[in-house]
Amino acid sequence: MTRYTTATDADREAMLAAVGVGSVRDLLAEQIPAALLRDEPLALPDGRSEQEVYVHLRELAAANTSAEDEVTFLGAGMYDHYVPALIDMLLGRSEFLTPYTPYQPEVSQGGLQVMFEYQTAISELTALPVSNASVYEGPSAVGAAAYLAKLHNGRRRIVVSAGAHPHTLQTLETLAIGYGSEVVVVPLKDGATDPQAWAAAIDEDTSTAILQQPNFLGAVEDVAALTAAAKDVGGEKLVTVGAYDPITLGILAPPGEVGIDVAVGEGQTLGNRLDFGGPSFGFFAAREAFLRRMPGRIAGETTDVDGRRGFVLTLQTREQHIRREKATSNICTSQALNALAGVVYLGWLGREGLPELAELLARRTHYARTTLTAIDGVELLHGQPVVRELALRLPGIDVPALVAHVQEHGYHPGLALARTHPDAYPDGLLVAITEQRTKDQIDRLAELLAAGVAAQRGSGSGPTTGQNGVAA
């Protein structure tokens, strides 16, 4: 008996008597072949009290350096945005936290309406008319979009910009085996998708042309030009897919207005915590024509027998429990709780707030770019516009060592591109800006980088310690 299992000894006796067996073991032995029925316990430690487990989990947490412990400029797919306190409260409510998928709409109007509101917000954000209720996360959402394209046009070729997140590229490669597709990666030129190579890679058997906005190096792509070129070559049947950071849609032209058919992306930036990579959610929006081939759950508005407005899961004939092997996807989990955080966050930002926030990021990113490239030995990796993240080159510098060095001062300067692109950008550094990174912190980062670079070159001393040594 544990603190969670309810049956007392007396309960067990009464239940066994009602069932008509002498013991639970007998009940199991009736059903499980003797050779398979274990008597020895699992090789796991004994259970522990709540307070002991808490102490253990706190020890594990303390062995990590989180964004609470250092001033972090890490991004590259997930970002240290401020999550407003009301999200914790709402997500902690039993009524949102503990229900299953809303199969019984009469007692699930809360969750269903949240989905409907979420779909509306995503549709607004992307300027695309239809959105599902979310998918797992960013890179696999791109994979799901490629599958949608395949169902739509039956073509074989997946063309994707090298500006996509490396995890997206890897995920596509893995899934393409199942789809029977071939993945063609289009190189970048000065940090953005090379338009000529892009047009050249696309042919009439190209099912989808995929790009990321802003791309992995922080560059703002000219999406309108790229999508027009893709349709020029691949025709109307080709499906253009854009993987977006939704926060940037406060300032960037929305996908629906620049020729994107299916917009997807990592939703973490919308009110979700970092959580070492998950759970978060992927958003998935598309033009009307794709509605009945979308993966995942979709909520729809309807009325009840008394004429009251209500919401239901709809278009379920796309789904596995009905269509089985003919389903449009195997995805049956929406990330409902994470998507709730997303729609609450968008409501919190509001109509005026999202553009204000996106502009704030762009201004601070611009400042960081100016400030950091003023350091001797630090150059721009590319010259494209940036709005929330920038890529640097530090020629001749061991960037991972530099990162480790700066971390000793309570700052994380960003992702050493040697981790993801050891061949292409061995000396690259990807620096992300959120509204939690102030001008003072950017200035202090510049000091630390300058000192670190100087130290590696053997021409100077280590970084100075200042008053901003600790996360603030």
Binding site: Y4, G111, A121, E124, T171, A253
Partner: protein, 509 residues
């Protein structure tokens, strides 16, 4: 009107968010980003204060049924209590604000936790290697089928068929299609297990794998599992275990011992994640040695007694992430990886919860949970029998069950004129969430009932009485159930109309 959306509330100019000053020197926005790349009109998001936002969503939440307000015997979903400790530890900033690209040297606690969970799941499944990455059960299935495919292809074999019993979860065949393979259905025998003759007839050297849940979606543990295993292995196929029903067998028996090569776990079922209204989930997989080279990346490596004075986890061991298959010894897990199924390492927040759960319960606690889950299911079955409802709602197969069971509402419909759907809706008026209905497909008017170990005997009794009462009342007046529910925020909804003319977003001016 309670169904007013957030877009219909508030007023122009209201806000919850206040932006801090940029605090940087002024710059011309056109210089930062050319106007043609910029958005011309803002997304028409809500305009509300924090108070309006809170009130809106708190009110909405109260239009949900949830596990903390009542019994939720949704078969195949394992709606067990969500311990609140899990939410507390997951929210610790060291977990919640850890960036996924943090250098492993600064994420030793997270990696130690993940490694620990891998070992826990390996022990529960009886299979040596675990990958935590998949985002949900069906994502785990996809990983598994791609692994089986990779395994065969590495041996130079192109096998295209996947055997799936007709009791299988719908995601099984859907996954097979996405993995580019072909579904071959296997029949169910009169006892509710796999029809061995049909299996023998269909298993051949084109068989890539068999996907099986055991106990299956009828709640029946297939007594022929060893024979099934030997048939599939005999033709060179791989055995895949759909772990959705693992809550029946934790510590009692193990998929690895049954002969399975690949298992997926639904952490959100057996290992108690809050279901969140339909996610997040987490679908780790465990595999045998022969499948392990193909596992997704990254792989967590552990040095028990690390050299130097670099960082370690609290245990003193040092952990690293290997992202590059080429960096792994030949034959090692991940050395011929199928690649990646998603970004980063998986749903770490879910790992924290399930690790906490398994650590809290220990070996004895896990087994006890499964034993009581099985006992509760059989007791509820017996109680329904005792109350005389089995005449209208017979057990679809067999006489006893594992952790869940399937009733057929066929006689109820035939004799009393109320369908399983009506029964389900009427249960809402009694304050219970209905069981899973119309699944599995092979049972007429199916009701799949899973009364998990965290539910009290009193609750099972009350639920059984409610069913008996609904049956009794239908004998007098079937229209009561036919028009139920009455006490819910809305009543029966026009689902057909919703699908015919989809309104899936709020129109805005």
């Amino acid at each position: 009107d309670h169904a007013t959306t957030i877009f219909e509330k508030g007023a122009a100019g209201r806000r919850s968010f206040v932006a801090p000053d940029a605090g940087v020197p002024e710059a011309d926005l056109d210089e930062i980003l050319p106007a043609r790349l910029r958005r011309s009109a803002p997304a028409r998001l809500p305009q509300v204060t924090e108070g309006e936002l809170v009130r809106h969503y708190v009110r909405l939440s109260r239009r949900n049924f949830d596990l903390d307000t009542g019994f939720y015997p949704l078969g195949s979903c394992t709606m067990k209590h969500n311990p609140r400790l899990h939410e507390r530890v997951t929210a610790l900033p060291g977990h919640a604000r850890l960036h996924p690209f943090q250098d492993p040297a600064h994420a030793q606690g997270a990696l130690e936790l993940m490694w620990g969970l891998e070992r826990q799941l390996a022990e529960v499944s009886g299979l040596p290697h675990v990958c935590l990455q998949p985002s949900a059960g069906s994502h785990g299935e996809l990983a598994g089928v791609l692994l089986a495919r990779a395994y065969h292809e590495a041996r130079g074999e192109t096998r295209t068929k996947v055997l799936t019993p007709d009791t299988a979860h719908g995601t099984n065949p859907a996954t097979v299609t996405m993995a580019g393979l072909e579904v071959v259905k296997v029949a169910t025998n009169p006892d509710g297990g796999v029809d061995l003759d049909d299996l023998r007839a269909k298993a051949d050297d084109d068989t890539a794998l068999l996907m099986l849940t055991n106990p299956n979606t009828l709640g029946i543990f297939d007594p022929n599992i060893e024979e099934i295993s030997s048939i599939v292995h005999g033709v060179g196929g791989v055995l895949y275990y759909d772990g959705a029903n693992l809550n029946a067998i934790m510590g009692i028996t193990r998929p690895g011992d049954m002969g399975f090569d690949i298992v997926h776990f639904n952490l959100h079922k057996s290992f108690t994640q809050p279901h969140g209204g339909g996610g997040p989930g987490s679908g780790p997989i465990a595999v045998s040695d022969r499948i392990s080279p193909y596992l997704p990346l990254p792989v967590i490596r552990r040095e028990e007694a690390p050299a130097g004075d670099g960082p370690t986890g609290p245990s003193g061991a040092r952990f690293s992430l290997v992202e590059d298959a080429a960096a792994l010894p030949e034959g090692a897990p991940g050395s011929q990886s199928i690649g990646k199924l998603r970004g980063f390492q998986g749903n770490y927040g879910c790992f924290v919860r399930s690790y906490t759960y398994i650590t809290s319960l220990g070996a004895a606690g896990l087994r006890d949970a499964s034993e009581v889950a099985v006992l509760n299911a059989n007791y509820l079955l017996a109680k329904l029998e005792e109350l005389g409802v089995r005449e209208y709602l017979p057990l679809a197969f067999g006489t006893r069950c594992m952790h869940e069971f399937v009733l057929s509402g066929g006689p109820l419909k035939r004799d009393l004129g109320i369908r399983t759907l009506d029964l389900a809706k009427r249960l809402l008026d009694h304050g219970f969430h209905p069981p899973t209905v119309y699944f599995p497909l092979l049972v007429d008017e199916a009701l799949l009932i899973e009364p998990v170990e965290t539910e009290a005997k009193e609750t099972l009794d009350a639920f059984a009485l409610a069913i008996a009462e609904i049956v009794r009342e239908a004998q007098d007046d079937p229209s009561l159930a036919q028009n139920a529910p009455y006490s819910t925020p809305v009543r029966r909804l026009d689902e057909a109309g919703a699908a015919k003319r989809p309104r899936i977003r709020q129109p805005l001016d």
